[in-house]
């Protein structure tokens, strides 16, 4: 019963956040640029303009216009991009594939490296390897993601010439999805952007896994497992690791949302044709519908991942304090 109450509260909160995001999107539409000028240009007389304004409902009250905006948005209509001359949402969803593959690539790198390294550092906290890793992780946190990207390009593209420095390379069309994972060229284009996107999260995850694992290793049930004489590997990798990963997965779920913010930076450096790159172009072109579509799609991704992670986490971990009980 408690859980249902919590879930309802959480969903209400998610709805409120989406409402606020839609309000922000709408006020941008209201204040940014003049839709009439985009439509008919400068050369039309004032009377015709006023007529058109009336016709398009631009003179209606704020609330009427907002309701119209939301009802259109719910029907997935956020207006046409001025530049691409097609529905803004279509443009964003189209570019989402590239961004998603970039995030996926980075996630794979993070999972493959952070877990073994974090566990190693927790098991041997005094070893010199662990000390080096911890020092490097501070350096890693201190290097902004766009600098990692620039240095990777400088070393591997400009100096060594091993890797391409921009774009997505060849892609394969599977249904509606075009993927770069299936061609050698696409994969080689994916390496540098994924590595630089992963570079910002990797030190954080290594430190998180290490801290969680060290805490778990101090608990009573692990001491009991040692006392029973279980094999070291069994204690470390079965009993301890399992309970380490639960909080890590929660943080990870939320960080996938955060990574979308960093994709704007990596996509800019590598000219990766994703959502973030298009968003920045839209800003420079004052392409209002596209800006709004991006904000709403990204807001939705954040809200959905956060809500789902919260709901699942509370479900699988009964010890977590529910919202009302803080």
């Amino acid at each position: 019963m408690d859980y249902i109450q919590f879930a309802v509260k959480r969903l209400v909160q998610a709805t409120v956040v989406m409402f606020v995001i839609s309000l922000i999107g709408f006020s941008i539409q209201d204040n940014l640029g003049d839709p009439l000028r985009e439509l008919v240009g400068q050369s039309v007389s004032e009377e015709v303009r006023n007529e058109l304004r009336e016709e398009m409902g631009l003179n209606d009250s704020f609330i009427t216009q907002y309701v119209r905006f939301v009802s259109k948005a719910v029907q997935l209509d956020l207006g046409n991009s001025y530049f691409f001359k097609k529905p803004a949402l279509e443009v964003i969803v189209d570019k989402f594939q590239a961004t998603f593959e970039l995030v996926l690539g980075a996630t794979i790198i993070i999972v493959f490296f952070s877990i073994p390294i974090g566990v190693y550092c927790a098991i041997n906290p005094k070893a010199w390897m662990s000390r080096i890793v911890m020092t490097l992780s501070i350096v890693g946190i201190s290097v902004p993601v766009f600098l990692t990207a620039i240095f990777l390009i400088y070393i591997f593209s400009v100096e060594l010439g091993w890797m391409p420095s921009f774009g997505r390379g060849d892609t394969v069309q599977i249904g509606v999805w075009s993927t770069g994972f299936l061609t050698a060229d696409g994969l080689s284009h994916l390496v540098l952007p994924s590595v630089s996107l992963a570079s910002i999260m990797l030190p954080l995850f290594i430190r998180l896994i290490r801290a969680e694992m060290m805490e778990v290793l101090e608990t009573e049930y692990i001491r009991f497992a040692w006392a029973k004489g279980l094999h070291t590997n069994r204690v470390w990798f079965l009993h301890a690791l399992k309970n380490t990963l639960l909080p890590v997965i929660t943080v990870g779920g939320v960080q996938i949302g955060t990574m979308i913010a960093y994709t704007i930076l990596t996509e800019t450096v590598f000219q990766w044709p994703g959502m973030g790159f298009v968003f920045l172009e839209a800003i420079n072109r004052v392409d209002t519908p596209l800006i709004i579509a991006y904000i709403i799609v990204v807001g939705l991704i954040f809200v959905v991942t956060n809500t789902v992670v919260d709901l699942i986490y509370t479900l699988v971990n009964p010890t977590v304090r529910l919202m009302g009980q803080r």
């Binding site: 501070i138 902004p144 913010a261 968003f279 809200v303």
Partner: protein
């Protein structure tokens, strides 16, 4: 004098005296701050003065790399012929000013909200904490990028360039207040039930006085610890925004916009325009982060972070 002697005899100073890394990073940080704020005095050129810039001097390499280097320009010049050393000094100053002011704003907002939330409680508390939850769930960098992007699209690049410092301080300051609010609130909740607060209340002191004069000083050490991290983060955010073209304009560059303007030239071999400011930025952030790490170990407050 007495206070100074007490401070010099404290555990804090003792441990600082024994930690080479902390000393090194403090020295490095002070060096950067000094050079940045003394820029008008020590910089060989004034990068804001168009009279001192000659396009004929553009893209000269640093003096140690030989070639057609010019000894007037120790670190070489950028694509517009500005002396890179001077531009970096002035750029570091802008980055630091934005970082400090943004964190100042965060502290002001976060500490006031955290104090009131924790001390007053009730509906005000749950409202602000929900707000903090929501804002943190949206990723601060994303909020900052979108906010400054909308500002830029509304004002146009021209006007935006003139108010960029103010906008950046506001955007970065407002985007990160929940960090402070949560930390302060958590320590206020712990302090509130202690006896000295009861005693102050019994004497009949007004609420605000208890909050600011009695409770606030006891929440200082966690504030100090997250402040170092926050300054580093604010400088990174500013650099990121400027790199995206949403921050400082090219004619008044911060480190981020300097890196951004040099980026296209690494393909043609002029690596120094990007690489040298990048190294300065990394060294600056690293020195702050190392200091923060050391502070956390020494003060060891419970960090109220998720």
């Amino acid at each position: 004098m007495n206070k100074l002697r007490l401070f010099m005899a404290s555990d804090f100073v003792f441990r600082f005296g024994r930690d080479r890394v902390a000393q090194g990073s403090l020295a490095l940080f002070v060096f950067f701050v000094f050079c940045a704020f003394a820029a008008p005095l020590i910089a060989p050129f004034d990068p804001y003065d168009p009279m001192q810039i000659d396009l004929m001097d553009s893209e000269l390499p640093p003096i140690w790399s030989g070639g057609d280097a010019d000894e007037r320009f120790a670190f070489g010049t950028d694509a517009q012929g500005r002396d890179l050393l001077s531009t970096i000094l002035y750029g570091t100053r802008i980055s630091l000013i934005i970082g400090f002011c943004a964190v100042g704003l965060q502290i002001f907002l976060g500490v006031s909200i955290g104090l009131i939330s924790g001390y007053v409680g009730g509906r005000i508390d749950s409202f602000f904490m929900r707000l903090a939850d929501i804002q943190l769930s949206l990723s601060t960098l994303m909020v900052a990028i979108i906010a400054s992007a909308v500002f830029k699209a509304t004002f146009g690049s021209e006007i935006y360039g003139n108010v960029a410092i103010l906008v950046l301080v506001l955007v970065i300051g407002i985007a990160e207040w929940p960090q402070y609010a949560r930390t302060v609130r958590a320590s206020v909740l712990a302090e509130r039930s202690k006896e000295y607060v009861d005693a102050a209340r019994v004497i009949g002191l007004p609420r605000w006085r208890i909050m600011f004069r009695h409770v606030l000083p006891n929440t200082m050490s966690p504030i100090l610890v997250i402040s170092t991290v926050q300054i580093a983060n604010a400088i990174i955010s500013e650099a990121a925004l400027s790199f995206l073209g949403l921050g400082m304009p090219v004619n008044k560059p911060s480190l981020g916009s300097l890196i951004s303007s040099g980026f296209e030239f690494i393909f043609s071999g002029s690596w120094w325009i990007t690489v040298i400011p990048s190294l300065v930025l990394i060294a600056l952030i690293l020195s702050i982060n190392l200091l923060g790490d050391w502070l956390r170990d020494v003060l060891n407050p419970r960090l109220y972070k998720d």
